[in-house]
Structures are given as structure tokens and as C-alpha cells.
């Protein structure tokens, strides 16, 4: 548990995701050993050979980074016609278990109910980098579509051989191959007889265009919904193994603190309690969580504290020279900002900021770990099962073949569950105890020892003509990230920079990453410019915008909202639009501000969204609504407060998240572009709500707010 907050080279923003610095570091030259052990198993693909006996124990992924091309690695048809589909993606509430099942059913021509997805199991599913970046629909749905189409064609081939028939007269439907002339039928299961399909998936098998979808493109209900409404679904925190103990870890009193000494006597004297000490790591195991909590509280420890930055000093700290400005391909220049500013009739320079916020998934990090004969199995809620497998292998000096990570459908993540802290802790305790151990983080641990959405500072400098034409745009983001940093508005002279900062808190991915911060700054600034030239904010945006897809969502949202209609007294309307990860969003919001108390209420919000072809309209709407609600929290009141290395609000009673009474009347307009491939949709719809609310607050009160959260204490100071 050392050097938790030593960030030297600890994090690296990637194109799609931020990587949180590791909570645990292991200074053992492990990588070299891996090279010898981690070769994996190569799946041979023999032309002309389509079957192998299904042993049920074969690994479905070959080398670590390889995407297997063998059909059987992805899909298995049982003799009873039950179809198992294997994907390394995980279900954390995005409802991809359902949408991926729909895609398979569509392409394979099999009933939805006959298909079961095996997800996020490093032993059973092909390697997958992780469930993030809104890549499931564009990548995994496409892959499973290819796999299913190939399987369907193979089944047609097999039936043609059985019947000695022309394959052109055969059709696949409802889990069977049907001979259109003779009306003969053969179940899929009868054709494959439960054997493994070893055929290679062709590069581009004929797949069904979205316009002809009968199962995909429609609103199937959550496939395992019944297990949730009856309480039967087993989340990680619900798993119980024979002989299992409950674990707790001793946490430092503040960030950066190191352990000096401990007195374990009292804890060790408690009946049935085991105490584990391994360097800075101290934990306990007990037959119940109640007892484990008591035991960990009984440990006396001395800590050496180190000075830490507090919330108040945050933004100065983020802007301090963070080394050289780094060009990561996201720095962008066009024309000359200097000339653009000279050509402008109005110039505007403003600074925007966003606070650290917490994912606060309702299911905290949790893991159940079991060692058997040197092999480790861990059930844990993570978005990166193969990543966590690697973390565990490294931590325990075993090859990855000896580590299995299983991710049951998990109680949400929002980008917050990329790492394997709880998995490592549970496995450490389980190894020491010689018994399976379950470890569930408390809410306070979750609020303190997970990683946060980065705080950030954004400076925008712009120039504009009085007719509303943008001439210059300079945009600097400090620390929060580069996602969606570029403007889609037409500006001939631009400079756009991302400056990595020194973050005092451990930070990492969060739904839509910095696209929220960058859209907040950009769309607020655009609103300020519109007012500077007395133009309607919608008209102003459209004047500077050629992108037809962004124009379309702006126009559709405005229409559904009734943009331009004057709201009542004390009310105001705002809008914002944007693009990220292949999808487009525009959000209009109406707010009401109580004149005397300054209390703010978002009355209604309308979003128009376009992500290519829609795979499941109801679930897509659900994601967009959910993103708007979650975004409303970060927009209005969510912020992590910290001082002297402590989070001051690590509880739901102190950290406010949106509740029923915060919810505006929400409307979602979907634009279904069946002519375009589907893009992911779990993240982008979050980016519009904050600037739309901020702009609406300005319209209602004349007060311009440039920091998220906009109304941290619930009410606005009115002039």
C-alpha cells in the first residue's frame, strides 16, 4: 500500500480512457518471468474442418492480444439448440447483455430466449481490452454479427449436405434450417450435435442491414430482468463460497500516509479473527463482515502523514507548470489565432473549471477470491477482467494462466471500475487465510480510495464579428483531459491544447471522460458569444456549423423543446450540443430560480440523440435519460471536497447525488440513422446537460456560472 499518491509517470491519458494510477505497486521483476510462461494456447484453424469435440475446458482466447478467428471461440450451439455466446465485455447496467443478444438472434436467425451470453470470464471468453470508450456496440456487436452470420451460413451448408439439397433453397429461421420446397426442418442443435465449430470466421460475411432488422432495432426487454426484480441475481457482493471468510483492510487516515507501527494484539485476541500483515498492508478476516469490521477497528496504528493539497488550492495547483506542454496528437492548430483575433470585432476571454467528482456506483468495489492448488479465481466487478487478471498475476507472481477473473453482471461502474484493488486485497487475504475471502468496500472506502473524475481548468479565448461569425478560437484544457476537445464549429483560426497536470487526487476514467468538461467550457463560451452579439444561441450555433449530424440534433431538440418560446418569470432556457465517440447530442433545459431563496430547479430537459442505427430504442432512451440525470448531479451539486489528504464528504449524506425530487421532466428524441453503423451511446448523452443548465441559469438570472458544480450548496447568489 505504499506510494499511493506518487504520480510520477503513474497515469497516462489515452485516446479513449484515462488510466488511474495503480493503488498497489510490486517491485519485482515479474515481466521477465511472464515472457516464458505466458505463451497461451494457439487455436489452430484447419481449412475444411468445422468441428471439434467440445471439452468444455478449452480456452476461448489464444494469445493475450489476439482476437480469435475461430467460430467456436465465440459461439457454441448445444445439442438441445441452446446457444452460448462468449464475449469479454461486461454488463454494468448498459444493457449490452440484451443488445448483443439481439444482434446474435438477428443474424443467426434464432429465438432471443435460446441465446445466453457468457460475459467477462477470462477462462471462457476471448480476450477483450475492457468495456469502456463506448466500444461495445461498434466493435463487439459488429464482431458477434460477423460470427453469427458465419454460423448461420455454416448451418445452411450442413443442412444442404444432410438433405443433398441446393443451399439456395434453404432458409434459416427461428433456430432451424428450413427447406422451402420440401418444408423439411432441422434444428440447429441437430445439425451441429454439440460439437465445437472450428471454422474460421470469414472477414466479411453477409450481414443483415439495419433496414431489414426484425429483432435488433427493436425494444427487447432486459433479457435477465426477472432475476433483478426478484432479488435473485447474484452480484459479486452476494456470492458465498463454502468456508468463506469476510475481509477488511486497514486504511490510512489520509492520502500519502505511510504505516510506522501497529499494535495488532487486541484484534488478534478476538475469537475467530485472523490478522494479516504484509509490509504496509494490514487486513483482517472473520466469519462475518460485522466481526471483521470490529476487528479492523481494534487495530492501533501509527501513520506518518505527508502534506497534501486541499480543495481550495486545487486550481492553482492544476495550472502550475506541469512540465512541458505535451503534444499527444490532440493539440490542434489551424490558421493563426493572432490574425483571427485581429480580425475580430469582439474578443472574449474566460476561464471555466470542473471539480473532482465520484462515480459512486451503488455497488461498491467488491471481490471474492479463492486459491485452489496454486490457482486463483476472483469474482469481481470490473470493466477490465483481463486487465485485472494481469494485475493479479503480477501481484502474486503467478502466470496469467493461473488466474481466472469472473465478472457477474455488476452494480454499475461509469468508468470507475477499471482497476483491481478489491480483487488484489481479497486475494491477499484469501492466500494468507487459506480460505476463500469476500471483501466489499464500504461507501466511505469507495468515496476515498477509488479514483475520481479529474478536476480541470479550461481557458478559452475567442474572436467574433458582429454578424456572429467566429474568427478565432484558442482553447486550453489543464488536467481534465482531451476527449472532445476540438470544436465542430467552423473557425478559420484555432489552437486547441491539452495540458496534463499534477493531480493531487488519484484520477481516472469517468463516463465520457473530459468530454463533459470540454463541452461545458465550449458550449458555455458559445452562449456567451451569442449574447455578446445579441443573437439567439441556436441561430448563432447554426450559423457557425456545417456538420449536418450536429445540426440535425440541435434542430430536433430545439423543435421538441419549443425553443424560442418565452418561459415564465424566474425561468430561463438554455441549450448545448456536441459530439463524441461517434454520436451526437443536443440538450435543451429549462430552469426555475426562486428569486428570494435563489433555489434552483431544472424543470424540464429535452435531448435529441443520434448514434447511427439504433439497436434497442427503449434501452437507448434509458441510457440517455440516465446520462442526463447523472450529468445533472455533476452540473449542479456534485463535488469531492478534500483537505489535508482527507475526503471531507465521503458519504451519501454529505455528497449529494441526484434523487427523485431533482429530476426534471425529461424527453428524449432519437434520430435513427439506419444508413449508418451503430455507435456506442452510454457516454456521450451526458455532455449536453451541464452547459444547457448553465446557459438556462444565465437566461433566467443574468448570472453567468463558469464552474461545475454550478450550485454546490443548492442555491444561487442573485445580484
Amino acid at each position: 500500500m505504499s506510494e499511493r499518491h506518487d504520480f510520477e509517470g503513474g497515469w497516462e491519458p489515452e485516446r479513449y480512457e484515462l488510466q488511474a494510477a495503480p493503488a498497489y505497486r510490486f517491485h519485482l521483476g515479474r515481466r521477465d518471468v511472464f515472457k516464458c510462461l505466458g505463451a497461451g494456447i494457439v487455436v489452430l484453424v484447419l481449412p475444411g474442418r468445422v468441428f471439434a469435440q467440445e471439452s468444455g475446458r478449452e480456452r476461448r482466447h489464444a494469445g493475450k492480444r489476439d482476437v480469435p478467428e475461430e467460430l467456436g471461440a465465440w459461439l457454441h450451439i448445444g445439442e438441445d439448440g441452446q446457444i452460448a455466446v462468449y464475449t469479454g465485455k461486461v454488463e454494468v447496467g448498459q444493457n449490452i447483455r440484451t443488445s448483443l443478444t439481439q444482434v446474435v438472434a438477428e443474424e443467426l436467425c434464432a429465438p432471443l430466449g435460446s441465446i445466453r451470453l457468457v460475459m467477462g470470464d477470462t477462462q471462457l471468453t476471448p480476450f477483450d481490452a475492457g468495456t469502456f470508450g463506448s466500444r461495445t456496440t461498434p466493435d463487439m456487436a459488429r464482431q458477434l454479427q460477423r460470427v453469427s452470420a458465419a454460423a448461420r451460413e455454416l448451418l445452411v451448408d450442413l443442412a444442404a449436405e444432410v438433405w443433398k439439397a441446393d443451399r439456395a433453397s434453404l432458409t434459416a429461421a427461428n433456430g432451424r434450417i428450413i427447406h422451402r420446397q420440401t418444408k423439411e426442418e432441422l434444428d440447429f442443435g441437430k445439425l451441429t450435435k454439440g460439437q465445437r465449430l472450428t471454422l474460421a470466421v470469414p472477414d466479411s460475411p453477409a450481414t443483415t442491414p439495419a433496414q431489414r432488422w426484425k429483432i435488433a432495432g427493436h425494444s427487447a426487454a432486459k433479457v435477465n430482468g426477472r432475476t433483478f426484480v426478484t432479488g435473485q441475481h447474484k452480484y459479486v457482493s452476494d456470492i458465498k463460497l463454502p468456508g468463506m471468510l469476510h475481509g477488511k483492510v486497514l486504511r490510512p487516515p489520509s492520502f500519502g500516509a505511510t504505516l510506522v507501527s501497529t499494535n495488532l494484539k487486541e484484534a488478534e485476541a478476538m475469537p475467530n479473527v485472523g490478522v494479516v500483515r504484509d509490509g504496509d498492508f494490514v487486513g483482517v478476516v472473520a466469519p462475518s463482515e460485522f466481526l471483521a469490521s470490529r476487528a479492523v477497528k481494534a487495530i492501533q496504528a501509527d501513520w506518518k502523514l505527508s502534506p497534501q493539497i486541499s480543495s481550495q488550492e486545487l486550481f492553482d495547483s492544476l495550472k502550475k507548470p506541469s512540465g512541458e506542454v505535451q503534444d499527444r496528437g490532440d493539440a490542434h492548430r489551424m490558421g493563426s489565432v493572432k490574425e483571427g483575433l485581429n480580425a475580430a470585432e469582439i474578443r472574449l476571454q474566460q476561464t471555466y473549471s470542473v471539480a473532482y467528482i465520484a462515480h459512486a456506483p451503488l455497488e461498491p468495489r467488491a471481490a471474492v477470491a479463492q486459491w485452489e492448488n496454486g490457482k486463483l479465481t476472483v469474482w469481481t466487478g470490473t470493466q477490465r477482467p483481463f486487465g485485472v487478471q494481469g494485475e493479479l498475476a503480477e501481484a502474486f507472481r503467478v502466470s496469467e494462466d493461473k488466474v481466472r477473473v469472473i465478472v457477474p453482471d455488476t452494480g454499475s461502474a461509469y468508468g470507475g471500475k477499471h482497476t483491481g484493488e478489491a480483487a488484489i486485497e481479497a486475494a491477499r487475504l484469501a492466500r494468507a487465510a487459506g480460505k476463500p475471502v469476500k471483501l466489499v468496500w464500504t461507501r466511505e472506502e469507495e468515496f476515498t480510495w477509488a479514483y475520481f473524475r479529474p478536476a480541470g481548468l479550461i481557458e478559452v479565448s475567442s474572436g467574433i464579428r458582429k454578424d456572429g461569425t467566429l474568427t478565432a478560437w484558442e482553447f486550453h484544457n489543464y488536467n481534465s483531459g482531451a476527449s472532445a476537445i476540438r470544436t465542430l464549429y467552423q473557425v478559420p483560426n484555432q489552437e486547441v491544447w491539452f495540458h496534463p497536470g499534477h493531480s493531487p487526487l488519484r484520477q481516472g476514467s469517468y463516463r465520457a471522460l473530459a468530454a463533459t468538461a470540454n463541452h461545458f467550457a465550449r458550449e458555455t463560451h458559445m452562449d456567451e458569444l451569442a449574447h455578446a452579439v445579441s443573437m439567439d444561441p441556436l441561430e448563432f450555433r447554426l450559423k457557425n456549423l456545417k456538420d449536418t449530424r450536429l445540426r440535425a440534433v440541435l434542430e430536433r431538440a430545439a423543435k421538441a423543446f419549443g425553443w424560442g418560446t418565452k418561459p415564465g418569470s424566474g425561468r430561463g432556457c438554455g441549450l448545448a450540443g456536441g459530439f463524441e465517440k461517434g454520436s451526437y447530442i443536443a440538450t435543451c433545459a429549462e430552469v426555475a430560480v426562486d428569486r428570494s431563496s435563489g433555489r434552483v430547479k431544472v424543470v424540464r430537459a429535452v435531448s435529441a440523440f443520434e448514434c447511427g442505427a439504433v439497436v434497442n430504442p427503449e434501452h437507448l432512451k434509458n441510457q440517455i435519460e440516465g446520462a442526463m440525470v447523472m450529468g445533472l448531479g455533476g452540473a449542479l451539486f456534485e463535488a469531492i471536497e478534500f483537505e489535508n489528504g482527507k475526503v471531507l464528504n465521503p458519504r451519501f449524506s454529505r455528497y449529494r447525488v441526484p434523487r427523485f425530487s431533482d429530476i426534471p421532466e425529461i424527453e428524449v428524441v432519437l434520430i435513427d440513422r439506419q444508413d449508418l453503423p451503430p455507435a456506442g451511446a452510454g457516454e456521450t448523452p451526458i455532455v449536453g446537460i451541464a452547459p444547457a443548465i448553465g446557459n438556462a441559469l444565465f437566461a433566467a438570472t443574468g448570472v453567468r456560472l463558469r464552474s461545475l458544480p454550478l450550485v454546490p450548496h443548492g442555491s444561487l447568489k442573485l445580484p
Binding site: 432486459k222 432479488g231 457482493s237 455488476t410 454499475s412 458519504r651 451519501f652 425530487s661
Partner: protein, 159 residues
């Protein structure tokens, strides 16, 4: 230390052997394998651990098992009757009123209590009653829709 040896859960007497101070949530989940009630915050703020105690929605994470020893406790596992879902469970499925589902048990039990008190709640009454239950995925509009749907279905079928 006083021990609780018997509880009445979902209409059945069950034997336990639990320190009376332990939270009801811990006994339900760890001793009785009734894991439908979830840990979310440990301070009664999120509602994921909600069960009904004599019909009253109760945060089992801050309720000691000793305090409910003589009372009727209902958990999500007891709501389905003879393989038939409660109308609110049906309505949650129809309205797609969940994403990750972790809050669902608590939401449904709070909702069942509301519908018993007010068979036809207005949207404002739903909001006020359900305010203590958090859905971090933000499916609140759908949960409101599910409650309204269930109220209507129950009125029609006389349940």
C-alpha cells in the same frame, strides 16, 4: 451478549443465532442467504437495503436484528407469490425501470409500501415517498412510470 434466535421472514419463522446488535442486513445476507437487500451506504441514505418491517419500509443496514425479533420482515424474495410476480415487479420489467439493477430490490419494496398506503399516488406523492432511494443510473423517470403502471394494474385487477 443478547442473542436473537428466531426471526419471522417472508411469512415463515426461521431460526438464527445472531448477536442482537448486528444489522438486520448482515443477518439477512450472510446468515440467511437472502441477498436481495443490498449494502449501499451503511447509513440509511440510499435505500438499497430496504425491507418491510410490519409493512413499513425500513433501512436494514441501520436496524439492529434485535429490534425486529418479534416483527414481520418482508424481503424482495418474499414478494413473488406461487411463481407469480407482484404487479410492481411486472411493471418494473415493462417500464425497463432499471439499468444495473442494484437499487431495484429496495425501490420495489419502498414502492410496494407506498402502493399499500396510497393505491393511486400522484407523481408528487411518488417523488416524496421515494426520495430516500437512490438510483445512481438515473432511471427515476422509469421508476415513477412503473409505480403509476402498477397502481393502475392493481386497481384493475383488485389486488
Amino acid at each position: 451478549m443478547p442473542e436473537v434466535t428466531e426471526l419471522r421472514i417472508n411469512g415463515t419463522k426461521v431460526g438464527v443465532n445472531a448477536d442482537a446488535e448486528r444489522p438486520l442486513l448482515s443477518v439477512l445476507r450472510d446468515d440467511l442467504d437472502l441477498t436481495g437487500a443490498k449494502y449501499g451506504c451503511g447509513e440509511g441514505q440510499c435505500g438499497a437495503c430496504t425491507v418491510l418491517v410490519d409493512g413499513v419500509p425500513t433501512r436494514s443496514c441501520i436496524t439492529s436484528v434485535g429490534a425486529v425479533a418479534s416483527k414481520q420482515v418482508m424481503t424482495i424474495e418474499g414478494l413473488e407469490q406461487n411463481g407469480k410476480l407482484h404487479p410492481l415487479q411486472e411493471a418494473f420489467l415493462e417500464a425497463g425501470a432499471m439499468q444495473c439493477g442494484y437499487c431495484t430490490s429496495g425501490m420495489i419494496l419502498s414502492g410496494v409500501a407506498l402502493l399499500r398506503q396510497k393505491p393511486n399516488p400522484t407523481v408528487n406523492e411518488i417523488i416524496r415517498f421515494m426520495e430516500g432511494n437512490i438510483c445512481r443510473c438515473g432511471t427515476y423517470p422509469r421508476i415513477i412510470a412503473a409505480l403509476s403502471k402498477a397502481a393502475k394494474a392493481m386497481e384493475e385487477t383488485g389486488r
